[in-house]
């Protein structure tokens, strides 16, 4: 745990920057937080199910249409068995229960009729890459926004502050996909290079090796920057505003009256307090990142969920599309949970707030 190193480092100059919380309050908090998550997950599954049901005609009609289109004769008993398999002759809530229990108990997401394979086979690797991309972007966003936000607050109204505020506004105003397009255009036109994809041609189908990971990291930075620009801009503004608020608080003056140096005081008190709302923004940023990655991936043709989801929606391959929406929702909720736990770990007030 780096906290130990942190502690040792900090005590040399006096005082502990931060001490880990007592396990029992933390466990109580985790349990409470897990309980709150259940209705949210339920809600997401309902939404995914509704989206599956939305297009006119049910799944079976589509399958029958497809089978007849391919010239196969559709037997009455085949239809009946399909109906029974998907519970299509049953009321809506029974269908929902069947669908969700198949997923929960057997990991069976249904069949993608367009690809004619189980949905489960299609989504996992893509979801994995979506998570990789989102987390990488999140880290990038943080690494940039944190120091820049501090700088902008401490040097309020300086040239640097104005510059970053300006870049921030521009970042907010360019839609992700447009930024992706412009970057692709520039790379294509002036460097004669394609920046799309996450892997070099040699590695697209290759099994996971260290070389493939390295290859991916080499490609990851382009979508990471595109996806992260707007978020970074937003976070810089949040960090700056929070820190400006904190800098005016009396405890900063108290710390100064103790004789602490400006830098140490800044890092130990206001920055540390301003860090909390910053961490809590993960909960808001993550849905936006996953959301945004869908569209950026389409433009850059990345092998993440976005392009396949789009294709499934256009083809009305609803079990595939619904599963993506379900899983993206769940990933978001889990991410938010992690950020809340991190926040509770950092901020004693949240742990004690019953």
């Amino acid at each position: 745990m780096p906290a130990d190193a942190f502690r040792r480092f900090s005590t040399r100059q006096g005082g502990v920057l931060w001490a880990p919380p007592c396990p029992r309050t933390m466990i109580r908090y985790i349990l409470r937080r897990l309980l709150i998550m259940i209705p949210t997950l339920f809600g997401i599954s309902i939404i995914a199910f509704i989206i599956i049901q939305l297009p006119p005609g049910d799944y079976l009609t589509t399958v029958i249409a497809q089978l007849s289109a391919s010239g196969d004769l559709v037997e009455e008993d085949v239809i009946a068995s399909l109906k029974a398999q998907y519970g299509l002759d049953r009321p809506m809530h029974v269908q929902y229960l069947k669908w969700i229990s198949n997923i929960l108990l057997r990991g069976d997401f249904g069949t993608s009729f367009e690809w004619d394979v189980a949905v489960g086979e299609l989504i996992w690797s893509r979801l994995g890459l979506t998570v990789t991309l989102s987390v990488a972007t999140l880290l990038f966003t943080w690494a940039v926004a944190f120091p820049v936000g501090i700088y902008a607050a401490v040097r309020q109204y300086s040239w640097g502050d104005y510059l970053f505020t300006g870049i921030g506004f521009v970042g907010l105003a360019i839609p992700n996909f447009l930024l992706a397009l412009v970057l692709m255009y520039v790379a294509f036109k002036y460097f004669n290079q394609s920046v799309g994809g996450l892997f070099s041609p040699d590695f697209v189908e290759a099994p996971w090796t260290w070389a493939r990971v390295q290859d991916m990291l080499g490609h990851l930075w382009v979508p990471m920057i595109i996806l992260g620009t707007a978020g970074t801009a937003g976070l810089i503004r949040i960090m700056r505003a929070n820190l400006l608020d904190e800098l005016r608080k009396p405890y900063v003056k108290t710390a100064r009256a103790k004789g602490l140096s400006e830098l140490r005081l800044l890092l130990k008190y206001p920055v540390r307090v301003a860090l909390n709302p910053f961490v809590s923004t993960i909960g808001l940023t993550l849905p936006i990142l996953i959301s945004g990655s869908a569209i950026v991936s389409v433009v850059l043709s990345l092998p993440t969920s976005g392009p396949l989801l789009l294709r499934a929606l256009i083809a009305q391959d609803m079990y595939l599309a619904g599963s993506f929406i379900l899983m993206l929702g769940i990933i978001t909720v889990l991410g938010t949970l992690l950020s809340d736990l991190l926040l509770a770990w950092l901020d004693p007030r949240i742990r004690f707030d019953d």
Partner: protein
């Protein structure tokens, strides 16, 4: 008048100014927001007068000029009598590029097409009743090519299409925000005013909606709109889908204001004076947070515009023959097309300016909404 007296006059004016005057004075000081306000007004004027401002109609095409590049606009024409103000452009001629063996347009230095004001062109109907064939600008010879922002794959004028797109994209922001506002006021107001269980449930719903990644959700809902719907119905369908998610932020702001105001002295005083519930809300509470709501609304519009643009770009939102910025950008989706016709990007510039301006105005309004702050 002495400086002292002027100062006290100024103080007097501040003391009796209404909330809106104070807000306006503060807003006016924010130079960036003021400039942006002018830009936003101009953009909406363009949306309003699209038919008249655009040189052509969005579906008018000249098949000979597919992917014609933008022309350079010359303002002065050399005549026997010297330079004269007369905007003009060169015509096009076709050359074959040696390596790629493809047709490219180059300016034809021999040909000059004069551009006129209030020229007659395709008949249009302004505001739904004013029939005319006059356009603000256009080539004097209706057959002459004029593509100031280039032409698309069918030889349609990009500038014209962008102007028409302004109407759809900017209005979808307004309509979407209006729908969000209704939902937001209803649910946020209930939540904030009633508190208790109602508040709790509505807050959970808001948290839930905010925790779902919006674009996949939008995509899912938009894909469910039947493809055979007429354009107008698609337009409203998309707007409803966008505001279905967009209302949460407004509801949050409204609830927060309600909660804060409920315990304010002047509201409590009104209660103690026996003022009716409805009157307190309408006469005491709403006026004091209206400014905040207007600021929140302004900040919500760009998000709506971005959402529409993104969805249409993916092919799940508005579809041709509707012309919106997103629809136009969809044509720029293929990188090879863009590489040969980068002017298809020009719509991106419009999106950028509109979003930036709306954000600045919203920021300025938000700062001005608290006239007593600081």
């Amino acid at each position: 008048m002495t400086a002292r007296a002027m100062e006290s006059d100024r103080q007097e004016a501040i003391n009796v100014a209404t909330q809106w005057q104070l807000m306006w004075w503060r807003f006016r000081k924010h130079r960036l927001a003021m400039t942006s306000l002018v830009i936003v007004i101009l953009i909406y004027l363009v949306a309003l007068l699209a038919e008249f401002l655009a040189p052509f109609t969005p579906d008018e095409f000249q098949a000979d000029y597919t992917y014609a590049p933008p022309q350079r606009l010359h303002l002065f024409l050399e005549t026997e009598n010297g330079l004269r103000f007369q905007p003009w452009v060169h015509g096009y001629k076709v050359e074959i590029e040696e390596e790629a063996l493809r047709r490219v347009f180059v300016p034809d230095e021999e040909v000059i097409h004069e551009i006129g004001f209030f020229v007659s062109g395709v008949p249009i109907t302004l505001f739904g009743f004013l029939e005319t064939d006059r356009h603000l600008v256009g080539p004097k010879d209706p057959e002459a090519p004029m593509f100031l922002f280039g032409a698309d794959k069918l030889g349609r004028d990009m500038l014209t299409r962008m102007i028409y797109g302004t109407r759809i994209s900017m209005s979808i922001g307004l309509v979407g925000v209006a729908l969000s506002l209704i939902l937001g006021i209803l649910l946020g107001g209930l939540s904030g005013f009633l508190g208790g269980h109602v508040d709790n449930i509505i807050q959970r719903v808001i948290e839930f909606i905010r925790s779902v990644p919006t674009i996949p959700l939008w995509m899912g809902l938009a894909a469910a709109l039947p493809t055979d719907w007429p354009p107008l119905r698609i337009y409203f369908g998309i707007t409803v889908i966008l505001s279905f998610i967009g209302w949460t932020e407004l509801a949050r702001v409204i609830r927060g204001r309600f909660l804060a105001l409920r315990t304010e002295d002047f509201v409590v005083a009104a209660h103690l004076d026996g003022v009716g519930q409805m009157r307190i809300i309408l006469h005491h509470m709403v006026p004091s947070f209206l400014s905040h709501i207007i600021a929140a609304l302004t900040l919500a519009i760009p998000n709506m515009i971005l959402a529409e643009t993104s969805l249409s770009f993916l092919g799940l939102g508005l579809r041709p023959p509707i012309v919106s910025w997103g629809v136009l950008l969809q044509e720029a989706q293929n990188i090879r097309t863009v590489a040969t016709a980068p002017w298809l990007f020009s719509t991106g510039g419009a999106v950028f300016i509109a979003i930036l301006a709306l954000n600045f105005v919203g920021d300025g309004l938000r700062d001005a909404a608290d006239p007593y702050a600081r």
